[in-house]
């Protein structure tokens, strides 16, 4: 597998074009239905926020996150679980080759959940470039090359089989991808 490549810097100077659409007219909101969501059973994970997540086609995978909130047990989480909506059951994931992270970016490739960087300490001051891939079918992890950016956004291109990431350039602070 190849590493990361910076493909280009965003050129954002000459931006404006004519032929802008007309403003949209307002319309009334539709009504709310209250009964179509289903609560999930309790997960084998501590309460947390900023987790990485993906739908695999058969399971909802959650990993990492931060259990902050003024308790003595605040910490970044290094565990995860997957929920099967057909079996209505959670299972714990194999141990990841990563320290606890939160607030990073996850992307589903069609076979693996890629975790791309994040924060490693409660104050958000420890930016992590670590990356790893989780394969739900085998319950198996592998490390990926570290990401070259602090990843703000990521997407997987099915056409090209590539992950595209964007974030501030470490040298200039400009948006890079």
């Amino acid at each position: 597998m190849g590493g990361w490549a910076v493909v280009d810097r965003a050129q954002v100077a000459d931006v404006r074009f004519a032929d802008a659409p007309e403003p949209e007219t307002a319309r009334e909101p539709a009504g709310l239905a209250e009964d179509i969501w289903s609560p999930l059973p309790p997960a084998p994970l501590s309460a947390r926020w900023g987790s990485y997540s993906a739908w695999t086609g058969s399971q909802f995978v959650v990993w990492g996150g931060y259990a902050g909130g003024g308790t003595s047990e605040e910490s970044t989480a290094d565990d995860g679980a997957a929920y099967d909506p057909v079996a209505q059951r959670w299972r714990r994931l194999a141990r990841a080759p990563l320290q606890g992270m939160y607030g990073g970016t996850g992307v589903w490739t069609g076979r693996e959940l890629w975790l791309l960087g994040g924060n490693g300490d409660p104050n958000g001051r420890q930016t992590l470039s670590a990356a790893a891939a989780y394969e739900p079918a085998e319950d198996r992890w592998r490390r990926l090359p570290d990401v070259p950016l602090r990843v703000s956004a990521a997407a997987w291109s099915r056409q090209t089989g590539q992950a595209i990431i964007a974030g501030p350039d470490p040298a200039t602070g400009d948006v890079a991808a």
Binding site: P29, W37, A166, A177
Partner: protein
């Protein structure tokens, strides 16, 4: 960021950028939508199958990437109850589900139809979410926090049949 149709898109408050993944040329700024800045503080964006959908609570447009259809065309806006916190996630068939965990609302969106539901969860931010492009469930929400960073450990799912 969205990567579909051979392109990657970055949608910001001020402009939309596109990168042709096959040619790897420079990022291209798409034509300005002309929306008042106050309305597009946090636009939602997603791939509809026919192009890039960019929307906020009062307007929406699709940018076609084909050579014959390149350019913006207006489409029906998502329901107004969605707040600027709402985000679009892809479903199958180019549909998008707009989910707002702050307003506890969700809407399945396509140019022809939208349907509303309210999540049975407390208002929250930074939840783990995932949209199901296939399978038994269309959308999941789990965890997250209050504005004071108190974490949640519960979640809910939107069954696929309900979403369609």
């Amino acid at each position: 960021m969205i990567a579909s149709g051979g392109h990657a898109f970055v949608v910001t408050t001020d402009l939309t950028l596109a990168l042709d993944l096959r040619r790897r040329t420079a990022w291209k700024a798409l034509p300005d939508l002309g929306w008042p800045h106050s309305l597009v503080q946090a636009p939602m964006a997603g791939w509809t199958g026919g192009g890039l959908l960019v929307a906020h609570s009062e307007a929406a447009a699709v940018f076609g990437t084909g050579s014959a259809e390149e350019g913006w065309r207006r489409v029906s806006p998502p329901p107004r109850l969605l707040s600027p916190e709402a985000t679009l996630y892809p479903l199958s068939d180019g549909q998008q589900v707009a989910v707002d965990t702050v307003a506890r609302a969700a809407a399945v969106f396509d140019p022809a139809r939208s349907r509303w539901s309210a999540m049975p969860l407390e208002t929250r931010r930074r939840a783990a979410v995932a949209a199901g492009e296939s399978g038994a469930a269309a959308f999941f929400v789990w965890g997250g926090s209050t504005d004071a960073n108190l974490p949640f450990g519960d979640g809910a799912m939107l069954p696929w049949e309900s979403a369609r």
